[in-house]
Amino acid sequence: MKSQGNGLRLYAILYLAFLYAPIFLLPIFSFNDGTIIAFPLKGFTTKWFAVMAEKGQLHQAVINSLIVAGSTAILATTLAIFAARASTRFEFKGKGAIMAMIMLPLVLPEIIVAMAILVILLQMGVGLGLTTIILGHTLICTPFAIAILSAAFQSLDKSLEEAAYDLGEGKFSTFRLIILPLVLPGIISSLLISFTISMDEFILAAFIGGTSPTLPVYIYSQLRFPKEIPVIMAVATCLVAVSIVLLIIAEYFRRRGVAKTGGKDSGGFL
């Protein structure tokens, strides 16, 4: 049994190495003093990061992405609070079907979601831009936010809420005073995850963004130019670093939320 565990451990570690291989290469080549992404390395430089600071288009794309990701995080989390609360606290007919529709973007190929939204926007004559990206991103981030928040709401003790009612608090003040503080870590975690997904999302942003590129759309447009690749590696290093930091904070809050409501940590976001 023990030796079997060791064999599996080695396999799991190799598997993690495979998962992380591309991400480890990013910083290596973003500090490499050569225009071609290949070995042997040419020497250390920070010039790609300096070039990055001079690109106006890049800055605009970053600003666009921040606007989109910030708005998406707030909208998706708000919608998810409603759905997660409804599905964990109340029983009603058709709950399964309604939740299935809301969670559907999780399994639908993104190209289908992207084309469907694009088609209906074009048919209705709506102009494409950052607003339409926010609408689309909110749709695909909501299921992830629900997955996180359901775990937070699930482990809430119903008797706390009933105690508040008995002590004369109304529905909204009970929510504000009792429920909200307990699920707050889950909400923060959901905001951060939604922000990260939206920040990294490419297909929807490319389809329904019109002429307003987000950061991934900008990166994609630059991949065609070989001499831009090292700069893109530097940009990607920053993007991945920001994502990882946000994820670690999100995980911290998710765990704190689970601990706060007395639930058992089942691990993971999904």
Binding site: I23, L25, I37, A80, F82
Partner: protein, 297 residues
């Protein structure tokens, strides 16, 4: 008075509260998902106009006829399905031991750390990760230049470059956590005393795994297969970047019809057809495994 108390009773009922709470989110999904999908289905039966983004609202089956008979679409659809099959197989087979390890051999307080480590790469820019695989596997890429500089090869390996294998590899990497998590959840639910019972009754470790653990883990495996298979059929970025546009999959065809060729009805028909095929395959797969899914908790 009675009206008011009825209203009071209604607003206190769980069903009313449930509907009221879920309505904003449900409405949003209805407007931004159900309605757009319905529009795609509707457009797939309409006629393409000659103007830019023009659609003539006239019922026709011609789009479906073209989508199903054109040999190019057929070949691309077959290739897409083949790629998805390979990715699903590779992902689930490679992921199972990892899920098993985390569930059975990791201390309970370390489990969420392992799961977190597994999911981090998944949350970081998909586009960047796909591009990095191109850089790694390319003709003058990291692997070839690395092997050359340490003198293992003289000429770059070509079998790792732009081909279906590279696409499968990249997708298998991207969807790995998707496969691990459902299997892990299923393994966690297994009552450990069942395994001991199996051993006590004289089964070998291998046979216990085969006859107890694996059947009980099947709901997770089925979930993993579906959650990898369905989205990968519609993957757009990987064939576009790794294949350099030379190995289009069905998503690239849909995108082209929609934007470059500007034939929304035909693009819609291809998309609806692809989803139908994926839906049928998924349904057959679930039915084939139905006996595992009925297992009581």
């Amino acid at each position: 008075m009675t009206q008011r108390s009825n209203w009071g009773r209604l607003t206190r009922s769980p069903a009313f509260n449930g509907y009221a709470l879920i309505s904003p989110t449900a409405l949003y999904a209805l407007l931004l998902l159900a309605a757009p999908l319905a529009t795609v289905v509707y457009l797939s039966f309409q006629t393409d106009g000659s103007g830019v983004r023009e659609v003539i609202h006239q019922f026709t089956l011609r789009n479906y006829l073209e989508a199903w008979t054109d040999p190019i679409y057929r070949a691309i659809m077959q290739r897409s399905l083949f790629v998805s099959f390979m990715v699903t197989l590779a992902t689930v087979v490679l992921a199972f031991p990892v899920a098993y390890f985390v569930s059975f051999h990791v201390a309970p307080n370390k489990k969420s750390l392992w799961l977190f480590l597994i999911t981090i790469p998944f949350w970081t820019s998909y586009l960047v990760r796909v591009f990095l695989w191109k850089v790694i596997l390319g003709y003058n890429g990291v692997i070839n230049s690395g092997l050359k500089s340490i003198g293992l090869i003289d000429d770059p390996l070509t079998w790792i470059n732009v081909n279906v294998g590279a696409i499968v590899m990249t997708l298998a990497h991207a969807y790995a956590p998707f496969a691990i998590l459902p299997i892990f959840v299923a393994l966690e639910k297994i009552d450990r005393s069942l395994l001991e019972a199996g051993r006590d009754l004289g089964e070998s470790a291998l046979m216990t795994f085969w006859r107890v653990t694996l059947p009980l883990a099947m709901p997770g495996v089925v979930g993993a297969v579906l959650i990898v298979f369905i989205p990968t059929v519609g993957d757009y970025v990987t064939p576009d970047i790794i294949g350099g546009g030379k190995i289009p999959l069905i998503a690239n065809v849909i995108q082209k019809q929609l934007l470059a060729i500007d034939n929304m009805p035909l693009g819609s028909a291809v998309a609806v057809s692809a989803m139908l095929i994926v839906g049928v395959i998924s349904a057959v797969f679930v039915l084939a495994n139905a006996r595992f899914l009925r297992v009581k908790k």
